[in-house]
Amino acid sequence: MADTIHDGDGVLLDVRNVTLQYKTREHLLTATYRVSFQVHAADRYVLLGPSGCGKSTLLKAVGGFLQPAEGEIFLGGKAVDRPGPERMMVFQEFDQLLPWRTVEQNVMFPLVNSGKLKGKAAQEKARHCIEQVKLGAFANRYPHQLSGGMKQRVAIARAMAMEPAILLMDEPFASLDALTRRTMQDELLQLWEGIRFTMLFVTHSIPEAIRVGSRILLLTPHPGQVRAELNSLPPHEQNSAGFAGLESKIDKLLFADNGNQEHQP
């Protein structure tokens, strides 16, 4: 279902030597330094690293919300220079839903405003996507009447309704409680099984990266640099032995060589 605009060699998103900087009041900070990676169509590509490794900043640059100081980002051979609806983003914050619109109107919002669909067609598409995230009974509720997990489901439905070339997810489950997070990870995988969309997923949790991702990019902090790019485990191979093995391997890569023990679980 996702648009498959990609090069001959299957590369959809090409991030080349990207250095990202941002200014605070006193300093010019480098968030990432010469990061390169390639996302193929239907990848579940995870950016994993501790806080301060610039993974969210990197995602925002792919979203077109900030320009690299150095390097380039290409989506389907086309340079990314501004935000656009072919790169729909799901945020961590619950306030990403428009509080003045119902669930259905929220999902319709990008469809209508990007000019992709109109009126009845937009409504039908929205209904379908709301059903897919199992919120059919809540289509006419306002966001303040929903739980955190439901809000994130609406945000995912809203992004998926656009059938973007790539789905950008900025720690979408990080504000949820552990049980809801686990359910949401499984549901996201089920959705992916059905549609096989391409997604770029940011997280600081190693288990989440292994569960959600098909390929994992490890970033080290201050400034963010690539440490490794690994294959994850397919869902059916995530038995405890393989899972724990990969988990400790990632742990070592991220934390072992600098003797830093202050990592998150």
């Binding site: 306030d95 428009l98 003045w100």
Partner: protein, 295 residues
Amino acid sequence: MNNTHAGMSLYSRPEIYCTPSRSDGHAVVQKPLSVWNRLYGIAALRKAAILVLLALVWQAYAVQLHNELIFPTFSATIHALVNGILSGGLLLKAWTSIRVLLVGYALGILIATFLTALATVSRVGTDFLETLTAMFNPLPAIALLPLALIWFGLGEGSLVFVLIHSVLWAVSLNTHSGFMSVSPTLRMVGRNCGLTGFRYVYRILIPAAFPNILSGLKTGWAFAWRTLIAAELVFGVSSGSGGLGWFIYMSKNLLDIPSVFAGLFMVILIGLFVENVVFNTIERYTVRKWGMQLQ
């Protein structure tokens, strides 16, 4: 105390498994509130009770004082109010005031929209609005009246001028600070959907800042209403008929104190109506429905 035994039993008590039944068959765990509790829950009713109490205290004090020139009774005031409405054209005078007010209010909002738009699109516009607001917001509108009288003469022009001044700063200040406080996430959502320029302001900024905009409109209304009545008291007649302020002033000159009270009563009634009916209705269908009312 047998410590070894307690340590053993920490992990060895029998485990329990249940299958939760469906909730359909359960007794309802709700019970209707009593009539008194339900009546007490209605804010309008509680407020009405307070009003009745105030009226009773007023009546009792005035009857005891027995001096209509200083403090007429509640019943005499109501009598004067009904008389004024039936014969003296009190409603017409109220309408004269409200009409001038609406003109000034609308023009004030229009200019506020323009200033805020300027402040939203450019840094210099922001500085311009902030400087002007800092200068003029503390200046009471009524203090500009003498100047307005020289510029626009004795009439509606001067009233509209001071009204604009009283509305403009409250509305633009609130709208602008509302725009500034729209969350970065919502801004990114708007730009992600490809919204730019006017459509971005209209679809994202205005609804997201609506609680602030509404509170600006309310403050602006209250300022304008007070300013208007005060201005009418100062120079009275505007275009022949005169408004509520003029009615109060003239009644005082005729030593018709119940009518003075009736005029003040009318001012209060209109204020209450706008606050509790007009703005309340807008709030109910917008910010309260969206769960984004300012606390």
